[in-house]
Symmetry: C3
Subunit: 355 residues, 3 copies
């Protein structure tokens, strides 16, 4: 079967990402040309955990293309509460809808669902694992606002250890030429080694910084994320460092005039409200770019025969994935799909190593 | 007032059922002819208890006809939580919508609501009482897949005592010529006597079986339903019989090649997952047939002046219905509507005998 | 910035109210002329507390204009549950939608939201504070059914102390010539003095009554509201008076044949069900008028450049509003906006005095 499911942005080639961005820009330029592009088509938004912003973004995208939407936003209101399997739900919904956008608290669920869907399926977040349309949002914003995705100096700030959006953004931008990175966090929340490996393999210069104030001065883009209080080593650590990674007027004054600030949202207090009106603060505009990106994605998945997503080679592992957060734990009928990476057996659903 | 409410499938004549099936088939054949059939019309889906599948099926049906939908899926979010009566809610909603699809946990609620609705109202399930569009789904599937609704050998398996979908299906198919039935269940969960009476009155041959394995061999259609663990007489009974009524590969291998398997869904474990890909397993396709059936129903109720549903003769009983699950218990303003059947006084809402 | 937000009906001039009513009447007369008036436009209904009736009314209004809707009806399903500020939510949603309809349990929230919205915003209720489209509904009903908004004798009955819909209705009708009022309630639940002031300033005759039975005889319109049991001084008071303010057949028989009965709904038991079919009982039809009023409002806000709403002069108060129910308590970034009234400093969000 032709793969039209967007589970992981990594599955897209640079050409495909560029095509998505070009399509999004064309839609922004003359949205009325696309007002009937999806007439008669239905998007199902299956949100097994609430995410108002992402769900409204997808709904708006489909409505602006002339399509319509069905779906739910509350696991307690769904048939799941009656014990229906993911497979059965997807089998039925893919008989109603032309395309599915799905969010689920369990890792690997979107991948699992795509096995049983007759229609394209988009991962809108599967636990702490992947959220490809967030990264799509980020790079469309970058491309539109900076005019390019290469030769940029990118700062990422906050919880770099646990932030899936940061990892995905770095992996994507590392594929473009001449980008360099400044990784700004506490020591305890440093970027994982496998991301450093990717940077080195792609020949991307990077610096590690423990001070947003110092690092901000010559960035093209600053990507802010939140550090949760409980991530600090101790209460003293938190008190000592809590303002170090907060973007405020004082720090922003050190930045270049053409730097842009992005944030995956929701913001809590890591960006002070008083800089929201600064022209460099693009995190709200970013949400609008995201909507156009989702319009482009829906169009390419539904209507562009050449936009086929590469499928990973897989095999059946003799062992079940042991990650307690993996969808294979709750959906017993799933096969032990796995793939090889650096000589290791990896779970095809959650991308964790199978021992 | 002309009755355009579908509360009970029994109220339809065989001609009307056949008309519905023909309409559904025409829609399936060229759905694009119907893409604007309900332009400007609004369907309200009032789901006082969640049923994602049924609600999405109705929403999709209306959207594919060019109409739009409003409604709710959560009793706690509705005005009911503020103590509004059913009458008031329906009076208001029927001022907004052109047609209403309603589900409610209390028996007789759809019938009660139809008394106050200015627009056609469809019963999408009223407690354990009636669910006419499920049976509509079943017979459209049967008609499309077997080419006829008569001269069929029908097996029904599972909890035949409590399964409202099974009773409704048998009552409907008994009206067609030459059908015979195999009733497969434990002794404790045998079909109620009044269904046997209907079979005998209609001259339908029937067999009683306690073994799915034996009964499956010469069926045209097998209708599977779930037996809940707590329905067995004892834990030993459950352990001894739990696999007897599960459809698996081994039992299916004994069936004819042209037998079809239906299930009202959700399925729990009464059909093993490994037969889902068997061409005879039609329970997911059945959900799609259901959507087309609902499209046909909406069209006939909204646009076919000849499609009038027969109203039962009723009288006002001096006694209130005493069924604790009946809507007359909670909605005090409802009159004691009743009808006569076999010399008994029956509640017009829940169809239980009024003493 | 041009003000296109309807937060308080008081901000509209009599000319603007009359324009709204004329537009609503034109839509009622030929709704099909407006079927594509908002093609391609999106209404976001942000309901931070459930109100099925109001939300469905707005959704229906937008759908009947050819537009589409996004939104939520459950605070627990929204990003708010993740600690997102009102400002951030509105900043994002106003990037998706063309117009916003918002309900919130906290006073002043709609006003606060309008500061950050790029698109017109309609207050659908902010706690016990304001609910302008309810009053719009009331006066459209009155205008359509009585043919005028002036020279009417208006009875208002129930909890006149706490009923925001009653206060708003009186303030609006006091602007029209020749209206007189009968204020029917227990002594404890009498109308607040500031409403009496408004009546006197506008030269409107008024009477105070403690008997619905006496007061009903020569009214043009009776506006019923509910008295909650806990509002009575004591249990004896409740028992003694509970039927005094209930509209039933006996009291209605004393009223004029051309009197009309309105109610903001939901009704509990302050109007007995047996008069629902009386031609004077217009509370269900009123809901339909409300929908047409909302269609008119959406159209004027989106498409009529002359329909600009007057902004109040404001200043920044040195003190924070101390009303514990005010939005300034929970949204820390809000400025201390205030205005002067009768020499006092009033909070621009909740309209309470700032000490």
């Amino acid at each position: 079967m032709i793969n039209k499911n967007l589970i992981d942005l990594e599955a897209l080639s640079v050409d495909q990402i560029n095509k998505l961005i070009r399509k999004a820009k064309r839609i922004m330029k003359s949205p009325s040309d696309y007002r009937h592009a999806c007439d008669g088509k239905i998007l199902a938004t299956l949100f097994y955990e609430p995410s108002t912003r992402t769900q409204m973004s997808f709904q708006t995208a489909m409505l602006k293309l002339g399509g319509r939407t069905i779906g739910f936003d509350n696991p307690m209101n769904s048939s799941v509460a009656k014990g229906e399997s993911l497979k059965d739900t997807i089998s039925i919904v893919s008989g109603y809808a032309d395309i599915i956008a799905m969010r689920h608290p369990v890792e690997g669920t979107a991948m699992a669902a795509s096995l049983y869907s007759e229609v394209p399926l988009i991962n809108c977040g599967d636990g702490g694992h992947l959220h490809p349309t967030q990264t799509l949002t980020d790079i469309i914003t970058l491309s539109c606002e900076k005019g390019r995705l290469d030769h940029l100096k990118i700062g990422v700030c906050g919880d770099l250890l646990n932030g899936r959006t940061v990892h995905s953004l770095i992996k994507t931008l590392a594929k473009y030429e001449g980008n360099s990175f400044v990784l700004i966090s506490t020591k305890e929340l440093s970027i994982p080694l496998y991301i450093i490996d990717i940077l080195e393999k792609n020949g991307c210069p990077y610096e590690i910084s423990h001070s947003l104030s110092d690092a901000i001065v010559d960035l093209d883009m600053l990507y802010m994320t939140r550090i949760q209080r409980e991530r600090f080593k101790s209460e003293e650590d938190y008190e000592a460092q809590k303002y170090v990674f907060v973007l405020d007027r004082e720090k922003l004054d050190k930045a270049r005039e053409d730097m842009i600030i992005l944030h995956p949202l929701p913001r809590v207090n890591e960006i002070t409200v008083d800089i929201d009106d600064d022209p460099r603060a693009l995190y709200f505009k970013q949400a609008q770019y995201g909507m156009f990106g989702r319009m482009a994605l829906i169009l390419l998945l539904l209507q562009d025969e050449d936009f086929v997503i590469e499928s990973r080679d897989f095999e059946i592992s003799p062992h079940r994935c042991s990650n307690p957060k993996c969808v294979t734990q709750s959906e017993a009928y799933l096969p032990n799909l796995s793939y090889r990476k650096l000589g290791m057996q990896m779970c095809d659903f959650c991308d964790k190593r199978i021992d």
